[in-house]
């Protein structure tokens, strides 16, 4: 049975990875059609010389980083607060946020922003996208950090407080360091989700805030284009490297 399971696993891994491998392979194809004609870097060149794509990539990075910082901080505090005190409302809402379909989150945030803009004289832009990303990342961060929290012993903090530390000090000096791996994992998750998001971002983006997924989507709708293969390959490699590095750091 173990042998059979091994073969099966290989099959599923193949299913998961083969399409991506093919995608990357064809990004090096000279021809724009699916007949292999030769090795070429022209599509990568096209990607790097496309100002729209480069700007969108920059926007994506900025949004992802800022949103990750905010949601990791807020989510960690939330998870900690729930661990110590618990709040049915908050944990229930976080759950709900997790399973709400993206399109619903997106239009609700769009409706909220448009309604708020009557008073605020703002427009849709990077800031609205960042807020939206924080909104849906919170739950993911909270879950990952909570999972880590449950492996901790509350007695440690209590001991610190018995020895005279304030609550905040106990948190900072005792719990937080132990929590670090979980926080890093959560931050990485938030970063990926934010960078990757299309549905919600496309709804709340403004004039200046085109992101990479939006550009890719627009190109994909017009038909297959090897430039998409190229940018996809870059994304796969970058994020793949990110995980490997983070795993190494965690094991170290």
């Amino acid at each position: 049975m173990k042998r059979g399971l091994g073969f099966y696993a290989a099959g599923v891994y193949g299913f998961l990875h083969l399409p991506l491998a093919i995608l990357v392979a064809f990004s090096f194809n000279t021809s724009r059609f699916t007949v292999w004609e030769g090795l070429s870097l022209r599509w990568y060149q096209a990607v790097f010389t496309d100002p729209e794509m480069m700007e969108a990539a920059w926007n994506s990075v900025v949004i992802a980083v800022v949103a990750t910082v905010i949601s990791t901080a807020a989510g960690t505090l939330a998870a900690y607060g729930l661990w110590k005190r618990g709040s049915r409302w908050i944990s229930g809402s976080l759950y709900l946020s997790l399973v709400t379909p993206e399109i619903v989150t997106g239009i609700s945030l769009l409706a909220f922003f448009q309604w708020a803009f009557r008073w605020l004289n703002w427009q849709l832009g990077l800031h609205t996208v960042i807020l939206a990303h924080v909104s849906f990342s919170m739950a993911y961060v909270a879950i990952v950090v909570s999972a880590r929290l449950r492996t901790l012993d509350p007695a440690l903090e209590e001991a610190a407080m018995d020895l005279g530390a304030t609550e905040w000090r106990a948190f900072r000096r005792v719990t937080l360091p132990a929590l670090m791996p979980g926080i890093v994992a959560a931050a990485l998750l938030a970063l990926t989700i934010s960078f990757d998001d299309y549905v919600i971002t496309s709804l709340v983006a403004g004039v200046d805030s085109q992101t990479l997924p939006m550009v890719i989507y627009a190109m994909a709708r017009r038909g297959a284009n090897p430039s998409i293969n190229a940018i996809s390959a870059i994304i796969v490699v970058v994020f793949g490297a990110l995980i490997i590095v983070s795993q190494r750091m965690r094991d170290a």
Binding site: F33, L124, L126, G206, V207, D208, R221, R222, G223
Partner: protein, 341 residues
């Protein structure tokens, strides 16, 4: 920990930073509607920076613009969207004193039915809806009715536009394009739903590449998109159906929310220059409303039947007007039903 915070803070700060101090203009246009040199030349001549983005449908544009703080300065609605946009207070009246090149327009467009005084928009490009097809694989369709043939199953696309799809169905039934009668629209709806099993997808100009690549054999298409596709793939051809077809004109309008009204007028005036207009047509194969620009075009393009159909053919076309609100809502509801069927 501190270094990290600083770094993130700096990154966050840079989002608000504008190292580029030139004035900005935000232009939202249909895809493939300007030449590669159009925007850079304008930027250079006026010392400004233009943010230029594209859309594929009026609805996509309207959805952004309707809230009144979208951030765009100039958009290009189709002619029958202009009166409602004006009625909703979205548009800024044009200052003709700044539009010195207005005289370059074709006589037909100087006082069009939808805006006789050219108060709200300047006609930009015009086109009709017809049928694009792959000549090497099938005989030329003649009428809308040919798009209901079973042979086309899975290789046919229709426009993702309620007006065009319902219009085609109405014309097929011999009914007026702008019908507001519930009974007639109901019949058109039945036709559309019947056709749906043959339709591969509802796509606008984005189907161009698929036509060229051969994924799609027949498409309900706007004439300019068809001309562009034919330029890339000579085995394609285009025909205006026998039962009748709609004609549209896209207009350059300035949004009331724009804080750069002067610069916006400059841009619209710039688009009206003959050389600029001709360059755009050469690059994009569109039909311009600019007579002076058209005069600069080579013979082959000026007489292209897809772009500039001959007079008798033009007579079978009609310019759809703005429908009353109730009829519009009925059509929108029917469109949802067709899409959901």
């Amino acid at each position: 920990m501190r270094r990290r915070t600083f770094l993130f803070g700096a990154l966050a700060g840079s989002t608000g930073c504008r190292y580029d101090r030139r004035p900005r203009l935000n232009v939202f246009n249909w895809s493939a509607y300007v030449a590669p040199s159009t925007i850079p030349n304008f930027e250079r001549e006026f010392g400004v920076r233009v943010r230029y983005a594209t859309y594929e449908s009026n609805e996509e544009m309207l959805a952004k613009v309707i809230t009144g703080n979208s951030g765009w300065d100039i958009v290009f609605p189709t002619h029958n969207r202009v009166p409602p946009m004006a009625a909703m207070g979205l548009l800024s009246p044009l200052d003709h004193r700044r539009l010195t090149n207005l005289g370059n327009l074709e006589p037909a467009f100087r006082a069009p039915a939808w805006d006789p005084e050219l108060r709200w928009g300047v006609p930009y490009m015009w086109y009709g809806t017809g049928i694009a097809f792959n000549r090497s694989v099938m005989p030329a369709p003649r009428a809308w009715a040919d798009l209901w043939s079973g042979r086309l199953a899975g290789r046919l696309t229709m426009l993702d536009d309620p007006e065009d799809v319902l219009g085609a169905c109405l014309k097929k039934l011999g009914l007026p394009f702008e019908s507001t009668d519930a009974g007639e629209l109901g019949r058109a709806r039945r036709e559309a739903i019947e056709q749906k099993r043959l339709v591969r997808a509802y796509l606008n100009a984005e189907v161009r590449d698929q036509l060229v690549a051969g994924d799609v054999l027949v498409a309900q298409m706007w004439s300019t998109t068809a001309a562009q596709a034919i330029y890339d793939a000579p085995s394609l051809d285009f025909v205006f159906p026998a039962e009748g077809f709609p004609l549209y004109a896209d207009n350059a309008v300035i949004l009331r929310e724009s804080r750069r009204q002067e610069l916006a007028h400059e841009f619209v005036n710039y688009l009206l220059r003959p050389r600029v207009s001709a360059d755009i047509v050469m690059a994009t194969r569109t039909a311009t409303a600019n007579a002076a620009g058209k005069a600069l075009l080579p013979e082959a393009i000026r007489t292209n039947p897809a772009l500039y159909p001959p007079e008798e053919l033009m007579r079978r076309g009609e310019w759809p007007g703005t429908l009353p609100a109730a009829a519009q809502r009925l059509r929108d509801r029917i469109w949802t039903e067709i899409k959901a069927a």
